[in-house]
């Protein structure tokens, strides 16, 4: 587990393979032991009408994350391998990070009033039947 937390990073292999089933979003919410969609750190929507296919919005694991820079309470720290790790205890729920992410890859848990941030664990890829997503590890080609 620790190994890919340190090394792994989520990548979108080919967005055209996406059928929009959202199994990835449900899988992400299941990490927390919930059903539904409310705690998903990945989002699938249509690319302006389903006939044009889908967009996959997921944290790119920036090496220099803008979300971290706007956090007033130091709740976000750099994650080895890219992206950020949230210290829930420090987070004041100001939504600065949500607004700052250029690609909209930070989501909101309304129940907790905290951001939902991708930890690059790869569960979404495990439940993608069409190979849209991949947890890329060091040494992968």
């Amino acid at each position: 587990m620790c190994d890919f937390l340190v090394n792994g990073k989520m990548v979108v292999v080919d967005v055209n393979l996406c059928v929009g089933c959202q199994s990835c979003m449900f899988a992400c919410t299941r990490r927390f032991g919930n059903a539904g969609l409310g705690k998903s750190a990945i989002h699938i929507g249509s690319a302006g009408g389903i006939e044009r296919g889908f967009v996959v919005i997921i944290c790119r694991g920036c090496p220099d994350p803008p979300c971290m820079k706007v956090c007033p309470s130091n709740a976000l720290r750099k994650r080895d391998g890219g992206g950020v790790i949230l210290d829930v205890g420090k987070c004041i729920g100001c939504k600065n990070c949500l607004r700052e992410c250029t690609i909209g890859a930070i989501f909101w848990d309304e129940e907790m009033n905290k951001p939902v941030i991708c930890v690059h664990c790869g569960i979404c890829a495990d439940y993608c039947p069409y190979g849209v997503l991949k947890l890329e590890k060091k040494g992968d080609d």
Binding site: Q22, F26, T29, R30, A35, L37, G49, G53, E110, E111
Partner: protein
């Protein structure tokens, strides 16, 4: 039900007074689970026997179930209403994102009543409900445009459903559909006209909830068991690869594919319009319903040039399935897939039910051949099998409704044949135009006893298939018995709102396990008792609204054209129907 599960919430919307309220109905969801069970009970509470299907009192009911959003393939929404096509029980199911959106918005069911004085659309974003003016959208020629406008105007991309009607619904055509997510439909029995009668152009519903489960460890385990059996199942893979049109060649090869208004049951051009042909030449994209990894929705890419400028092209995506290929292809004798797709596209633009529309046009063609209708009736159209242009013209004229003939045509073949004759080949059962299965007596007993749409109504098709492959004959009573026991179980599947394509995966054992995780302790026998009770509620509604099993019209055509089980008699069908109701009411 798990304490705190929002499933129990029923959102009531009254379009006359533009108000909404939420009722907590634990009782309903504890007793009837969800989906068709809950919707049937709500219909019996909300819709009195004198209700006019196009009046303000007719409720539009949508219901989902406890497995929606928690387990894969439980993503159907059941809609119930009084049907303007049959004047009786209306039940239509659709997938897309509708069920997930309703569940994630925090509801188990939605009941819409009343009638707006001006066109409106409703936006439900979790606990906020907005009534929005739709005057600009009303009368818009192309239903695709309405979808695009609402997509841009409303929030919740990826987490919402957009249900809308086309011109057919606005003009109260009895078989107008409600289109959801551009490519899925509450197609059958005229829900679109009920929307139209309420001046309701569209509904947008969005939500992003999460749900609690009992026993997280067991939840993940059961989820994986279901998910893995879906993604590894050969049957599901077939739905993914060829989709429902896999049946075109299958049914044609056994001579069960209704062709030219069922004058024949084998179409000489079936190869051209088969699932295999579409896969090879047209498939442009596959998509899925929310929370279903199968992705059985097939979109054809149709590249057309303009008559006025042959170097100017447009490429349109059109969703194709077995039933529209039957109703607009073989049934109308259209051999060319390009032309079939153009006709199907027009149906989507206008918002008709593709199945009823095809059967209606097939009746019109044969009636004109037989001299029952004249070119004066048709405004000069000379219907000819395979001539898709005349069919497109006729559908536009049905919408305009400028003479008695087209007015009648807009009310389905059951009605039209009472005016113009030709009832021997007016292929409706219980007032609803037939689906594409001329397999034998069991399907017809199923159509006549069922309430739901399509062949998925019942096990008739598979019963006939067994007879065909084994050469064993079933008596009418045996057929009725088998149909009823399958139908009872299907009430449970459609209360869970599990897609019927997954009925082999959602075995009684899996259903019990999944329900336990969502807080229901039901044995298989308990489920069957609930299923039977649901059927009885539906049957009571039908009887109250004038259904009489002894007065059902059976078009003679089905006895004339040989089915793969061999020819069968009217007596057999009538015995089967009466045995079915006798069994249902026996305890």
């Amino acid at each position: 039900m798990i304490v705190g599960d929002p499933l129990k919430k029923v959102l009531h919307i009254d379009l006359s007074i533009k108000r909404f309220w939420v009722e907590e109905r634990n009782d309903l969801f504890e007793k009837f689970i969800g989906g068709v069970g809950v919707a049937s009970q709500l219909l019996s509470e909300e819709c009195g026997k004198k209700t006019d299907p196009l009046g303000p009192e007719n409720p539009i009911i949508f219901a989902v179930g406890p497995l929606t959003g928690s387990f894969p393939l439980a993503s159907k929404t059941v809609s119930m209403f009084k049907s303007p096509l049959t004047g009786n029980l209306g039940e239509s199911h659709a997938g897309g994102r509708s069920a997930i959106a309703i569940r994630m918005a925090g509801y188990g069911a939605i009941v819409i009543k009343g009638q707006s004085s001006e066109p409106v659309y409703i936006a439900v974003h979790e606990n906020r409900v907005y009534f929005k003016n739709a005057s600009v959208l009303w009368g818009m020629g192309n239903s695709y445009s309405v979808g695009r406008i609402l997509r841009e105007r409303e929030s919740g991309a990826g987490l919402r459903t957009i249900m809308k009607i086309g011109r057919a619904g606005e003009e109260l055509i009895s078989y107008a559909s409600v289109i959801t997510e551009t490519y899925r439909h509450f197609g059958r029995l005229g829900l679109g006209a009920v929307f139209g009668s309420k001046k309701l152009k569209a509904i947008v519903i969005s939500g992003n909830n999460s749900l609690k489960v009992n026993n997280v460890k067991q939840y993940r385990k059961t989820y994986d068991e279901i998910y893995n059996s879906v993604v590894n199942s050969p049957a599901m893979n077939k739905y993914h690869e060829l989709g429902t049109p896999m049946n075109v060649n299958v049914l044609n090869s056994i001579e069960a594919l209704p062709t030219r208004n069922l004058k024949e049951a084998k179409f000489e051009y079936a190869d051209n319009i088969s699932g295999e042909a579409f896969l090879e030449k047209y498939l442009g994209r596959r998509i899925a319903c929310a929370h279903c990894p199968v992705s059985c929705i097939h979109l054809a890419a149709l590249r057309e040039s303009y008559d006025s400028d042959p170097y100017f092209f447009k490429t349109t995506m059109i969703s194709y399935d077995y039933e529209p290929i039957f109703s607009l292809g073989s049934m109308l004798g259209i051999p060319n897939p390009d032309e079939l797709l153009r006709l199907l596209e027009e149906i989507e633009i206008l918002g008709f039910d593709a199945m009823s529309a095809g059967v209606v046009l097939a009746w019109a063609t044969e009636s004109q051949e037989a001299g029952l209708i004249s070119e004066k009736d048709t405004f000069g159209i000379r219907f000819k099998w395979g001539d898709y242009r005349s069919y497109i013209k006729a559908l536009r004229l049905v919408i305009k409704c400028e003479n008695e003939f087209y007015e009648a045509l807009g009310r389905g073949v059951e009605h039209t044949s009472t005016v113009y004759g030709g009832d021997d080949f007016a292929l409706a059962f219980g007032g609803n135009e037939m689906p594409g299965y001329h397999t034998g007596p069991a399907v017809y007993i199923g159509f006549l006893t069922g309430a739901r749409h399509s062949h998925l109504d019942n096990a008739g098709y598979s019963l006939d298939q067994k007879v065909i492959s084994s050469n064993e004959k079933l008596t009418p009573d045996e057929t009725a018995n088998k149909l009823l026991s399958e139908e009872i179980w299907r009430q449970i599947l459609s209360s869970l709102v599990v897609c019927f394509f997954a009925r082999g995966i959602y075995t009684p054992e899996i259903v019990t396990k999944a329900l336990e995780i969502m807080g229901y302790n039901l044995t298989y026998d308990d489920s069957l008792n609930i299923g039977r009770e649901i059927l009885k509620i539906k049957n009571n509604f039908k009887k109250e609204n004038g259904f009489n099993e002894n007065n059902l019209r059976i078009p003679k055509r089905i006895f004339e054209t040989k089915a793969p089980t061999g020819k069968f008699t009217e007596e057999y069908i009538r015995q089967g129907v009466s045995a079915y109701f006798k069994l249902l009411n026996s305890d």
